[in-house]
């Protein structure tokens, strides 16, 4: 192949050379070239090797639809060379051939592998002996696939993101019909987005003599305020969201109305050797010549089933390609006007003939043409060989209906068009252009205008004049010749004779014989055939092969194509990198107002639910001891915090919790365990009564959202006079705990913190270090302590003030890990760790919290009454391990017969100098001193049950 002289409408900038490498060899290109066109200009005809048989393949469609030109570009596999623009210095390499593209050892599968790789060979071969499967798997995995990914990648190197776009009208397809639709809709005042796969608007016209008109129309589209996304592939249709991939962005487009102007796809023909480099679609050859100034061949044979093949022959002839012959499969041939043009051009053409074989090894060197009978089968002894280096084929066109079908439209077989046309599109979706079956330029243009107007009017835009104009346009359209003048392309002309293969599916190397074979085996429906042979499952996704496969099925089963139908259309319609679908990683994380201070203090920050929290500050044992010996300060801002206010607030809480809150006095605190309808523990926390009508409820950190939802749900159901406000993130909270905590806090506040004035379970309001606080005297960690809740904006000042005041006393910050040890010493549960979905408060050793003598009903009452009636079966108890070993959390409690319980928490206590824990055990073992055995990763540990707190069981330190 070589460069043609400059052509009108070409994409090239001949003054800007660009160099890249292909398999290490430098290739000179021009700005505007694609990798494929540059390689073609350079004489490189073979671009890839096919999937299964490793047959050489070359440019065919030049529009990104077929699989023949997949290459690796700068380490990215699966790039279509025919649409990838050249860049200076890009490194292009072949795929799927070893050791080289020129000589591929795996071509042996084509010559010798047929017995081992029949259709569906994965169900037949490489199965026995079964013990060799690991070897088969390794061999097959190495042999299969196209392209190689990087084995290991330390971090994401490609930034991708989502972009959400709303529009009044989304037009999919930037050919004439799409542009007409966009213009018309914009004219009616719609906010229009137009997406098109190509690098510029204009579609197929860009490669024709009408390229200038097409480009001019594209400029008008931009001037009309339409947002144009070029190089943008619509991937699917998801309940009104159309994802469109362009570059590094996935546009999620939500439109009120849609126009599908997705065009049609030229189809190949089935004959022996139809995959040889040098066999191209007519449109592909035209694009190569018209857009990129590369001659697709010196001498061509054109095989066609429709007028477009002849038009293409004329265009190629005008570009300097000698047309040796046109084989028109139609018995009657083209219309008179076209016939005369072909004759005037001096081109020999024959009706009722077809190419039955392409000749050559590694590339086309000739074609065999034969006459066809009335059934489209070639007549023996009529073959004639013609020397050529290009076979340009046009097997008709197939409307690109996949997106429409995904959206809910039906596919209707149209005999005249010889294709499935979209039918019954859902409301809000309009169809225009070739995809709707319109063939003439006038009809395509008119259909676009009609669709655009319909879309805009359907969403309330435009007025009566526009409606009148639409009716006139519709009338014009109905008068315009729009049926696609094509004959039904001949099916594969008999079985392959000689040694050639006739490919129905280029992607998966499925031949026409393979299809017949599979049908003989019983896979005689298109859906079954697809799954068995993998036809239509390759990179083209059926663009090139679905209709030929359907015709073959119809032919072999004696049915009609209409009866055969199509396979289900599914997204993505175009191949799309997973990185694009992933988008930007969003990892929501909550951080407290003193998070910065935690990091400065050396906190080991980890995930705790959806919060980032310090687990310790580098010395969990020391932090634990500080709480016992002086004072510790922990950030508990992550707790859920709810304001429950109203005249029925107490009654509301009474219904939600198993204990009473109407008897709680203002300024006092009570522990609460929340349960569900089945009496199972779902959360716990404290409830402080602020005044007669106001309560301050805390929850676990990870349960905050669920508790708020639970409260809101029941409030909506019960319609009580209660207001619920979530202040979880608005208030910071710190727990200052330890024997010196009173001394520390007293220096920061005017509040009387004596034990008499501020007793255990009191809640008081005061300024601490100038900060307005709600102080709760509670004790999760077992020492004298105060929980200070304050506005988050003042949290850092409060933390710093407490730390400064406590420094002379040896205060230390402590994290989640020391807190876990401290609370375990007191047998305080962690909901979700020490409890599960079956745990109720009675069996969790909290019978005192369940007030079955409450007059009013409460959530889970009947279930708890049931438990009380039947008696507890399992109990949550504490245990100690004598030898100091710490069982893993989750270790089983075992008896002779097997496991009967499990360890929920376990730690070594530096204060008590022994291993302590909590476990669920059968009620018979739930007695102080009972011996239990723990099975932990193969070892057995002897433990003793303890039902009272390990540390300060009489709460003298806590209440002192």
């Amino acid at each position: 192949m070589s460069r043609l002289p400059p052509r009108p409408g070409e994409r090239l900038n001949r003054d800007r050379p660009i160099a890249f490498t292909f398999d290490g060899r430098t290739v000179q290109a021009l700005e505007g070239d694609t990798v494929g066109s540059a390689l073609a200009a350079d004489g490189q005809q073979v671009l890839s090797r096919s999937f299964k048989y490793h047959r050489p393949r070359g440019l065919m469609c030049c529009s990104g639809k077929c699989p023949n030109c997949l290459v690796d570009v700068d380490g990215w596999p699966g790039v279509r060379a025919c649409t990838e623009p050249v860049r200076e210095g890009m490194k292009v390499e072949h795929m799927n051939a070893r050791p080289s593209l020129r000589f591929d050892v795996m071509r042996a599968t084509d010559h010798f592998g047929k017995p081992f790789t029949p259709p569906g060979f994965y169900y037949k071969t490489f199965i026995r002996p079964r013990r060799l499967w690991p070897l088969y798997e390794k061999v097959l995995r190495n042999a299969a696939g196209l392209g190689r990914l990087v084995g290991r990648q330390r971090k994401r190197e490609w930034r991708t993101e989502y972009r959400r776009r709303h529009a009044d009208v989304l037009v999919i397809g930037g050919g004439t019909a799409g542009m007409a639709a966009a213009l018309r809709a914009a004219e009616l005042g719609a906010d229009v987005t137009l997406v098109d796969e190509g690098p510029e608007l204009g579609g197929d016209l860009l490669a024709s003599e009408h390229s200038e008109e097409a480009r001019e129309m594209g400029v008008r589209v931009g001037d009309a305020g339409v947002e144009v996304l070029s190089g943008a592939a619509a991937l699917g249709f998801f309940d009104g969201i159309v994802p469109v991939w362009a570059g590094s962005t996935l546009h999620q487009i939500r439109a009120r109305a849609h126009v599908a102007a997705t065009g049609s796809i030229e189809q190949p023909l089935l004959f022996e050797g139809n995959d040889l480099p040098g066999v191209m679609l007519c449109s592909g050859a035209e694009r190569l010549a018209g857009l990129y100034g590369v001659t697709p061949g010196k001498v061509a044979v054109v095989a066609t089933t429709a007028d477009r093949g002849l038009e293409s022959a004329l265009a190629l002839s005008e570009a300097g390609v000698e047309i040796a012959a046109i084989a028109d499969a139609r018995a009657d041939g083209p219309g008179r006007e076209l016939s005369e043009r072909v004759v005037r051009a001096g081109i020999e053409f024959h009706t009722g003939t077809a190419v039955v074989r392409a000749l050559g090894r590694g590339r086309v060197t000739g074609a065999v043409v034969a006459e066809l009978d009335a059934d489209g089968r070639w007549i023996e002894d009529t073959e004639r060989g013609i020397d050529c280096d290009l076979v340009a084929v046009s097997g008709g066109t197939v409307p690109a209906t996949s997106l429409l079908l995904q959206a809910g439209a039906k596919a209707r077989w149209d005999e005249a068009a010889g294709a499935y046309l979209p039918d019954e599109p859902p409301p809000g979706i309009y169809v225009a252009g070739a995809v709707a079956g319109y063939g003439s330029p006038e009809a395509v243009l008119a259909s676009g205008a009609v669709a655009g107007a319909e879309a805009a009017l359907s969403i309330g835009l435009g007025g009566e004049d526009d409606r009148a104009r639409l009716e006139a346009d519709r009338a014009t359209l109905s008068e315009t010749r729009h049926s696609v003048d094509e004959t039904v392309p001949a099916a594969a002309s008999g079985a392959a004779r000689g040694h050639g293969r006739c490919f129905a599916c280029l992607c998966e190397d499925v031949t026409a014989d393979d299809i017949s074979y599979a049908i003989e085996e019983g896979f005689d429906s298109l859906e079954l055939l697809k799954r068995y042979t993998t036809v239509t499952m390759g990179p083209c996704q059926g663009r090139m092969c679905q209709l030929p496969a359907a015709r073959k099925v119809a032919q072999d089963t004696g049915t009609s194509v209409a009866e055969v139908g199509l396979t289900t259309a599914r997204p993505p319609w175009s191949t799309v990198p997973l990185g694009v679908l992933a988008g930007r990683p969003f990892e929501p994380a909550k951080r407290s107002a003193v998070h910065g201070r935690q990091r400065e203090l050396g906190g080991n920050v980890m995930w705790a639910g959806d919060w980032r929290r310090p687990y310790d500050y580098g010395d969990p044992e020391g932090e634990t001891m500080a709480v016992h010996e002086s004072a510790g300060l922990i950030d508990v801002s992550t707790l859920g915090k709810l304001m429950v206010r109203g005249p029925e607030a107490a009654a509301f809480l009474n219904r939600l919790y198993p204990n009473r809150f109407d008897t709680l006095k203002p300024g006092r605190i009570r522990y609460g365990v929340l349960g569900d309808d089945a009496g199972r523990i779902t959360d716990d926390g404290t409830i402080c009564r602020l005044d007669d009508d106001s309560f301050y409820v805390t929850t676990t950190s990870s349960g905050a959202d669920a508790v708020e939802s639970w409260f809101a749900w029941w409030l909506a159901d019960w319609q009580m006079d209660v207001h619920l406000t979530d202040v979880s993130q608005g208030l910071a909270a710190f727990n200052l705990a330890g024997p010196l905590s009173r001394e520390i806090i007293s220096g920061l506040t005017d509040l009387d913190c004596s034990n008499e004035a501020f007793t255990y379970l009191d809640g008081k309001r005061a300024h601490v270090a100038g900060v307005p606080c709600l102080l709760l005297r509670i004790g999760f960690v077992g020492e004298l302590g105060y929980e200070l809740h304050c506005p988050a904006a003042l949290a850092e000042h409060l933390w710093d003030s407490i730390a400064a005041a406590g420094e002379p006393h040896g205060i230390r910050p402590f994290g989640l890990e020391p807190q876990r040890v401290l609370r375990l010493q007191k047998l305080h549960i962690l909901v979700g760790q020490d409890t599960d979905a079956e745990s109720n408060p009675l069996e969790a050793a909290m019978p005192w919290i369940v007030k079955l003598d409450k007059e009013e009903d409460f959530i889970g009452r009947w279930a708890l009454e049931s438990v009380q009636e039947r008696g507890e079966e399992n109990m949550l108890v504490g245990f100690t391990v004598s030898n100091g070993a710490v069982p893993v959390e989750g270790a089983a409690v075992v008896v002779a017969d097997g496991p009967v319980g499990r360890v929920t928490s376990s730690r070594f206590s530096p204060r008590l100098k022994k291993t302590i824990g909590m476990a669920w055990v059968p009620v018979a073992l739930a007695e102080d001193g009972a011996s239990i055995t723990l099975a932990d990763n193969g070892r057995r540990l002897d433990a003793k049950v303890q039902t009272t707190p390990f540390y300060d069981p009489d709460q003298e330190r806590l209440r002192g």
């Binding site: 919060w611 602020l690 006079d721 979880s728 608005g730 100038g770 506005p791 003042l794």
Partner: protein, 243 residues
Amino acid sequence: MSFEFLAPDSAVAFEGAMPPLRSPVEWVHRDGSASYAERAGWRLVADYGDPAGEAAACQSSVGVADLSHLGKLEIQGEAEAVSGIVASLAEGSVSLGQATLSHGVWWCPITPRRTLAVTPPEATARVRGELEAATADAAFISVCEQTTSFGSNAVVGPLARETFARSTALDMRPDVFVEGAFAPASVARIPGMVLRVGTDSFLHLFGSGYANYVWSVFVDAAEHLGGRAVGVDALSGEARLDA
């Protein structure tokens, strides 16, 4: 018992100085080149060392500024009662989807029963007092201080909508999301609220615990579009919600 413990402006002097009020991302900016200023007791980032560039970003691309110091007050009650109170104080009614600006205060209806008043920090105490007075005799309406429950960012500039488009599906087209439009929405996978305060100016509200996360998401998106983080001085008075 009072609810002062919810209100950051209820702080009193300690050791001769008022405790400083800090936004939930104030600590993040200490690592960079931020210049701080004090406003109504709040430590704010005035600029990031390039005031001219930051102002230019707000005019030509997009600027993201931390406005977490804005006051937020939640009024909750029966729909009719809430709308009546709000109408009297806002000197105009509010309806779902549309907030009302009155004397520097944005009255934002979250649900028919719940309205959020977004105030300049100097006005928060006054508005809270007005609300408490207005609701004192009303049947069961509660006023709750929520200033520190929500972080807030201003996203300002011709590319503000594009910045939001990276993390929300809210339709923010000018003709759809008009000036004063207010909507709860999922933004960056968390619950949020968006208010359009000007031609290309938006206020984004979110749980203050997420402030650092939201800040990093939006600044990243802005920078990718050619914008940047900006201090409050780069914003117009309208975008800053000046009193």
